[in-house]
């Protein structure tokens, strides 16, 4: 056992380092990822260790970055690219939707694109305009993409290693609010996570379904609820696509009540998809309509107002209180 206490940022860095060591076709590139090590230091030291051919800075153009990765993946390499911030990734949207997502399909499986698009996302870090979007729903909506987001340090390492080895393109959403959260982890123990949700906490009364930055908030809410005598289960979705219906629905069936927690605006979102799926599949197990705690349908607020947009323990507990307990 080699337990170490590291942050999610360090775990992601270690995952890149180990992947590049294990496979010399793995290439890391993007804006400021070279000498600087990325604005969040996720690529810290990679250029020094592996050279400029393996980890390099690109011109400041996201469509070019993703488009070049497509070509490199077509030609036998495994590119990992960084979009510096969620909202700065939008110039690459056409490449992602029209090419990254569709290449396997349009060529009848002849061209695989083993590539990873890393996107730091979400708020809670006091970022000014365009630095705090939750853009996961755009990608989850697009057939052909695999979309994952870690909520723990261990998952950050394991999911990124798996994403890099994956035969399909993976949109890897990194909750930047959790970059500095530290955990004791054993990086030699890697469980595959793509396609699977995981129950982070058992509880008999209601299920909180969350992902990415909302998982620690949900766990905190469950802790607070337990103090008040209500036992809440917490499911970490972590793989938005493919979605693990089985684990999520099993958890909801055990409790009969559920709240979905997500930072993104609720309208036409991953959270609304989860509610729809669970309702379709588990209707007869439900004692109350599923509630959601999401961001409002507004542009992400400026730093001094962002706390009103983020799911909070209180909002989660209020939503749980609203699950028609009087009827049971």
């Amino acid at each position: 056992m080699t337990h170490v206490k590291i942050s999610m940022a360090q775990a992601l860095n270690q995952a890149l380092r180990d992947a590049m060591k294990a496979d010399d076709t793995v290439m890391m590139f993007g804006e400021d990822v070279g000498a600087l090590g990325g604005v969040f230091r996720i690529t810290d030291g990679l250029t020094a260790e592996f050279g400029e051919n393996r980890c390099f800075d690109t011109p400041l153009a996201e469509s070019g970055i993703v488009g070049m990765a497509v070509g490199m993946a077509m030609n036998g390499l495994r590119p990992v690219v960084e979009m510096q911030f969620d909202a700065f990734g939008y110039p690459a949207f056409e490449q992602v939707v029209s090419h990254v997502a569709k290449m396997r399909n349009r060529t009848r499986g002849r061209v695989e694109l083993p590539m990873v698009i890393r996107i730091p996302y979400g708020g809670g870090i006091g970022g000014v305009e365009h630095h705090s979007d939750s853009s996961e729903s755009y990608f989850a909506h697009t057939p052909g993409l695999t979309v994952v987001t870690p909520a723990t340090v261990a998952d950050a390492y394991a999911l990124l290693r798996q994403a890099i080895e994956y035969p399909d393109p993976v949109v890897f959403m990194e909750p930047k609010k959790l970059y500095w959260a530290k955990e004791e982890v054993d990086l030699t123990e890697v469980q595959p996570g793509i396609g699977t949700a995981v129950v982070r906490r058992e509880g008999a009364d209601a299920t909180l379904i969350a992902y990415g930055p909302s998982v620690p908030v949900a766990l905190e809410a469950a802790e607070a609820a337990a103090a008040e005598g209500r036992q809440l289960a917490v499911v970490d979705v972590r793989s938005l696509v493919p979605f693990d219906d089985e684990t999520v629905c099993a958890a909801v069936r055990r409790t009969g009540r559920a709240v979905v927690v997500a930072e993104a605006s609720g309208f036409a979102s991953v959270s609304s998809e989860i509610v729809a799926r669970v309702t379709e599949k588990c209707f007869h197990s439900l004692a109350a309509p599923i509630r959601r705690v999401t961001g409002f349908d507004i542009p992400f607020p400026p730093p001094k107002l962002e706390k009103h947009q983020l799911p909070s323990v209180d909002r989660i507990l209020d939503a749980v209180d609203d699950l028609q307990w009087e009827d049971s």
Binding site: M68, G71, M72, P79, E94
Partner: protein, 362 residues
């Protein structure tokens, strides 16, 4: 030694080695290709023209959904692939079917997209031809990626990336040129300037002195050629490919040509241009001028002509016969190529469609 201007600026006039009357002209930087190359090019032009016209006819007969023809642009189509080696890559647009076929891809597989039985019908790795791109200029960053990967792997691959005049307005055109220049990627960006982006003429597309000038801002040398002169195109593109292969970085070539037909069969060109604009271009036809020159040289004997005609007849027959039967499509395939593995959700949706079809049949 060379000033920046000398290195980057295109020629003052498009390079033309054979004028529209088939008369050869000396050029300080480019030489006429040899007899064998021109005769091969001639046969390919004849075949390309027949391919275009047969495909258009098959649209009218309902055998193809749509066909964006390169009629009149065949010299560009042929030259783009004639200058490549076996291991080189071609990144075509939707109007470049003739180029794809001249690269050796089966004509029927080439037309899968336009027939509508799948999106791309050929194996891109087979002849090193990327899937035809319909979103404009989006294939150009891919071309840079393939070239950069080749360079990192120590291969001397050159990538020929095709784009139209309209495509040079897209952001991806500029990002691709910039990336290619910064990474010194062996890409030849080849603009077929046919004067129209559907209905919008070049004057409304760009105020640049020429599209080849667009390379200057990125440090990419530009050159321009008469797009209906196969000899000039082979010389210019051949040199661009040689430079890219020799490690001189990306090259930009603009061919001046003209879309003598409508954008596609679904377009009505009379709404935006007059016939008297088109007519002079018919006299600049790429086949006619090469034929005149070859005849004048005494190189176009019956044997050569027969072989060229035979190639054209063969490709036309292949199209007619290959496209006549209704293509077999399999609804189950709709779910087959999204991911390397299966997902529960797609399994369920495939089963739904299967059941629906079974009920319809019952």
């Amino acid at each position: 030694m060379n000033s920046v201007e000398e290195r980057l600026l295109p020629s003052a006039e498009p390079v033309r080695l054979l004028d529209q009357n088939g008369v050869p002209h000396d050029h300080p930087s480019y030489r006429l290709p040899d007899r064998e190359t021109l005769l091969d090019g001639y046969a390919q032009l004849i075949r390309g023209r027949r391919f275009n016209d047969q495909a258009s006819a098959l649209v009218r007969q309902g055998r193809l959904a749509v066909y964006p023809s390169s009629h009149g642009q065949e010299a560009c189509q042929i030259a783009a692939t004639m200058v490549l080696r076996e291991g080189d890559w071609l990144f075509p647009t939707y109007r470049d079917s003739v180029s794809i076929v001249s690269r050796g891809v089966d004509p029927i597989d080439t037309l899968t997209l336009l027939r509508g039985d799948w999106h791309s019908g050929y194996d891109p790795y087979d002849r090193k031809v990327a899937p035809q791109s319909t979103p404009l200029a989006t294939q150009l960053p891919h071309a840079v990626g393939v070239a950069h990967a080749a360079r990192l792997k120590g291969e001397d691959t050159v990538v020929m990336a095709l784009v139209g005049d309209g495509g040079t307005s897209e952001g991806d055109f500029h990002e691709a040129l910039n990336f290619a220049a910064v990474f010194h990627a062996p890409v030849v960006f080849f603009i077929q300037n046919n004067e129209y982006a559907i209905s919008v003429p070049l004057a409304k597309q760009s105020a640049a002195p020429s599209l080849a000038h667009k390379g200057i801002g990125y440090g990419v040398p530009g050159e321009r050629a008469d797009g209906n002169d196969l000899a000039g195109l082979l010389a210019v593109l051949g040199q661009a490919v040689a430079k890219a292969r020799a490690g001189e970085g990306p090259q930009l070539v603009e061919a001046h040509t003209y879309r003598v037909q409508a954008h596609t069969n679904a377009d009505d060109a009379t709404r935006y241009r007059q016939d008297d604009e088109v007519t002079p271009w018919l006299d600049r036809d790429p086949i006619k001028r090469l034929e005149t020159y070859l005849n004048h040289q005494g190189w176009l004997d019956d044997d050569v002509k027969q072989r060229a005609d035979a190639g054209a007849v063969q490709v036309a027959e292949r199209l007619r016969e290959g496209l006549m039967p209704e293509p077999e499509v399999d609804p189950a395939e709709l779910f087959a190529h999204l991911y390397a593995g299966e997902t529960q959700q797609l399994r369920e949706q495939a089963a739904f469609l299967r059941d629906e079809l079974a009920r319809e049949e019952a």
